[in-house]
């Protein structure tokens, strides 16, 4: 055989093998790595054909749902890792992963005032730490196995106007109820090393400015409380969420603001999920995050009875609620196995729920928390503080808020969201809509039978992918970190092995 033919035969063979795998093997449906559903084959419509979106969606379906997608993705991360210069000294290893598609920041100009009297994080333990910035607006600090990944914040101090309006509106419409706003900083507020400061804007000025604009409602200075404890594990290193311990300090701050009793950690049993690697591995696509597992530590109250009832939402493929189940009892804390990437779903198991916890505390105070996924970790520390704790996810709620508050005798409402969602006007509008929407307002698409439903029942062995328990920020949100949470449908951690914990005290 001539060398040319020899080349042709071998290369054609290799190419054909890959083509056969890609064309005939079962397609990937879910990315463990990125924790999201992969693109589905688009539905045809003539309009979509005309504006070229049909063919475009086929192309993205094809490349998104490749067989062996995560393996190929891992290879691409290794390639990206290989282009780094590894001789850099420990102190110099800092990277930034610039956002993939960074829209410009929200039109608001940076704040000029209010910067002075903000307490700086009490001794950023990582001020001189080595760090790097990875793609997707993620800053990666340190080296394996102690890498910490941070999402950059790009908002200005005077943003969040819509959120302020919403909170004020709640107070205005329900003057008899105490209304609190708790805006939780992202980890980047405390752990961004000095040399990466330019990559992420400070969040305390933003939070303080939101609180300063509240009328009647109270701001919960959780960020100051957190700032005093940065040396402890208040944020997860490998997940975009904070750690339960951070939520504990924030809950303490909320209890103080609300004037209710609060118990220290001695009133809790500590539980640990070992070998946890969270969502930031998939977001940053930086392999060093995977090589830095951590312990996920949470706490279960041991001195108070609590009784959890869930109404579970069924949502369609656009994450619109199509059905609400009847109230059913369930555990508040779900138990995850060591190594499970979905450990943050320990609290209530998912976001797609309306939760009511009746506690053994008898003080006539009933709290309703309107939250994003950061808020999930908070209620578990408030069972000693309130007689009832209701938890509403800002994305899923089908009742009229005023009626719900009246019917359940709610005395306190707390907004518990992270900076991204406090900045996002679309999130705020959703929360404001609860005040005016009718009862049982499920999405009209409930009647569409072809829509797939996603249920997350408490005791389900196999959890379906649940939508975004990340800070969902819309296009108006500070865009430095245009992480995948732009897509609201990006689901969070599904974990096959949830074992409901039975330690709920009845």
């Amino acid at each position: 055989m001539s060398p040319h033919k020899y080349y042709i035969v071998l290369v054609t063979l290799a190419f054909s093998c890959i083509a056969v795998v890609f064309l005939t093997f079962p397609r990937s449906k879910y990315s463990e790595l990125e924790k999201r559903d992969l693109a589905k084959f688009p539905e045809y419509s003539p309009e979509k054909l005309r504006d070229n979106s049909f063919t475009k969606e086929i192309s993205s379906w094809f490349s998104d749902s490749e067989p062996y997608r995560d393996e190929l993705m891992t290879l691409s991360m290794k390639v990206n890792d290989a282009k780094k210069f590894s001789m850099r000294s420990e102190e110099d290893a800092v990277s930034f992963l610039a956002a993939d598609d960074g829209d410009a920041n929200d039109a608001q100009s940076p704040a000029s005032s209010a910067d002075e009297d903000i307490p700086q994080a009490a001794g950023n333990p990582l001020a001189n730490e080595n760090a790097k910035i990875a793609h997707s607006g993620i800053i990666i600090v340190g080296k394996e196995p102690n890498v910490r990944s941070l999402m950059a914040f790009g908002g200005s101090a005077n943003g969040g106007g819509e959120f302020v309006n919403t909170v004020n509106k709640y107070k205005q419409e329900m003057p008899e109820v105490n209304v609190y706003a708790m805006v939780i900083p992202l980890a980047s507020e405390y752990y961004t090393p000095d040399k990466a400061k330019k990559a992420s804007k400070p969040q305390a000025p933003f939070i303080e400015s939101v609180y300063a604009r509240l009328k009647g409602a109270k701001g919960v200075p959780a960020h100051r409380e957190l700032a005093a404890h940065t040396g402890e594990g208040i944020y997860l290193r490998t997940d975009h969420h904070w750690a339960p311990l951070g939520a504990f300090y924030a809950a303490k701050s909320l209890a103080r603001t609300a004037g209710v009793p609060f118990k220290g950690l001695e009133a809790y049993d500590e539980k640990t999920i070992h070998n946890f690697v969270g969502s930031m591995y998939g977001y940053s696509k930086d392999i060093s995050v995977k090589k830095s597992p951590e312990n996920f530590i949470y706490h279960i109250p041991n001195g108070v009875a609590y009784n959890t009832t869930y109404r579970t939402y069924t949502v369609n493929s656009n994450y619109k609620v199509t059905k609400e189940s009847a109230p059913a009892p369930g555990p508040f804390f779900y138990k995850f196995k060591d190594g499970s990437g979905g450990a943050y779903s320990t609290f209530m198991g998912s976001d797609m729920k309306l939760t009511k916890v009746k506690t053994g505390t008898n003080n006539n105070r009933r709290l309703l928390i309107i939250k994003d996924s950061y808020g999930n970790a908070v209620p578990g520390y408030l069972f000693y503080s309130f007689g009832e704790v209701h938890v509403v996810d800002f994305r899923y709620f089908t009742h009229n808020m005023k009626k719900y508050v009246r019917d359940n005798g709610i005395t306190d409402i707390a907004f518990v969201v992270n900076c991204f969602n406090a900045y996002s006007s679309s999130a705020a509008k959703k929360m404001a809509h609860f005040l005016t929407q009718g009862d049982n307002s499920v999405s009209p698409s409930a009647s569409e039978p072809q829509q797939k439903t996603k249920e997350t029942k408490p005791a389900q062995k196999e959890t379906k992918h649940e939508p975004d328990s990340r800070p969902a920020h819309d296009d108006k949100t500070p865009a430095l970190p245009a992480t995948p949470e732009n897509q609201e449908q990006a689901p969070a951690d599904p974990t096959p092995e949830i074992i409901p914990e039975t330690s709920d005290k009845q």
């Binding site: 020899y6 290369v11 086929i58 192309s59 490349s63």
Partner: protein, 485 residues
Amino acid sequence: MVFSDLFFLFAFIPAFAICYLLANLIDKRLLRMSAEGKPRFKARNLTLVIFSLLFYAWGEAVYVFLMLICVLINYAAGLGIARFESRKRRKAALIVGLALDLALLGTFKYLGFFSQAFAQIGIETNAPQLALPIGISFYIFQSISYLVDVYRRESPVQRRFIDLLLYISMFPQLIAGPIVRYGTVAHEIHDRHVTAADFADGTYRFFIGLGKKVIIANMLSEIAEQFLVKGIDDLSIWGAIIGICAFTLQIYFDFSGYSDMAIGMGRCMGFHFCENFNHPYCCKSVTDFWRRWHMSLGSFFRDYAYIPMGGNRRHQALNLLTVWFLTGMWHGASWNFIIWGLYFGLVLAIEKFTIMKVIDRIPAILLRIYSLLIVIIGWGIFYFDDFGQMKKFFSSLSGRGSLEFGLLEESALWDNFWLWIAAVLLCMPLRRWLETATDKVLSPIPAIGPHAVATVRVGVSVCLLILSVALLVGATNNAFIYTRF
């Protein structure tokens, strides 16, 4: 569709390859059956046209009809030119054809630009906002080359519509060049033959191009974007330098990668397109740069504009100005491209009377540094179609940006260290050197020599393919820069 798309690689290409091979069998059979000479019908050409239209319609479901209209116009105009005997009539047919071509280009590419320009001086035109059809600048230029070549009797007229359609729409070069002259492929449209060497070289070339685009250009584009788009408001001097250097390398690997893939695919089918790049960043003068960069465009303007206008013989300055104005304008309906074109026109005019006269007496290294500087600054103009941002960029670059070498800058350099090295090395004729070297070392080994060289090539091709596939999974920003012109 773009070449660096998994759907193109693993759905379109296999489907096309199978159909084309079947068509090849049909053609062979037809050849055997036909008594007198070669049959006119070519199943291969029909297959190629169908797939090219599919390829185009994939990205432009509506504008594919615009392209068909354009081909129809040129088909008629070509026949007209060939049919008339008198010079006047031939010229009239040519002018009508060219005018219609340019009218299409003007309407779909420049209407918005001109109406905006008029609006700025107070004349409202209410022109409709039309989306730019992909590749229109390329296929209109190919049409022009067809008409002019036929008019000049340099090429025969194409009497079969489908073959003209094939020339204009052939998917390897349809949306981003190289601008293939009709004369270059006229013969091969009717009669082409693929040797094993053609196919092997073509495939190899294709994988090289894919790697250039996916591995190098896409990674560099992230760096460039990080500084020149996201970081533009707060750009340090170093950021400006890193950003524009990243773009300089990106655009070369992006565009030359595309050309490699186009040329490679053409070779696999028996077409021999002209080269489009010849290591442009190794140039010794800006004049030299333009002989090495996007050669098909440069030679197009030389042959169809500069020389007909009088070239060096009369009002050379005006000719130069016009040609560079058009070159800039061709890249996009935006002032920055026009300024970019004129900038090079000016530099080239100056060079002609200064450096070019003493070029042998200047050390090569100085010439290279000077040329690269001019070219890189040019890319600074080219990159920003927003003047506000361009101003920010140049003011940072010229020293008003902070001198801080922060994390972003550090990360862009160190975390991409090997990427920079590879990109810079590959701008040089490194591959040619390496290939000659391997040839020299391996070929003389008896019995296995030639196969050893081929084995190295197989290894390179398969590695590039696998890495590209891995990097394309989850890639978000992957379009070729030149498809928007």
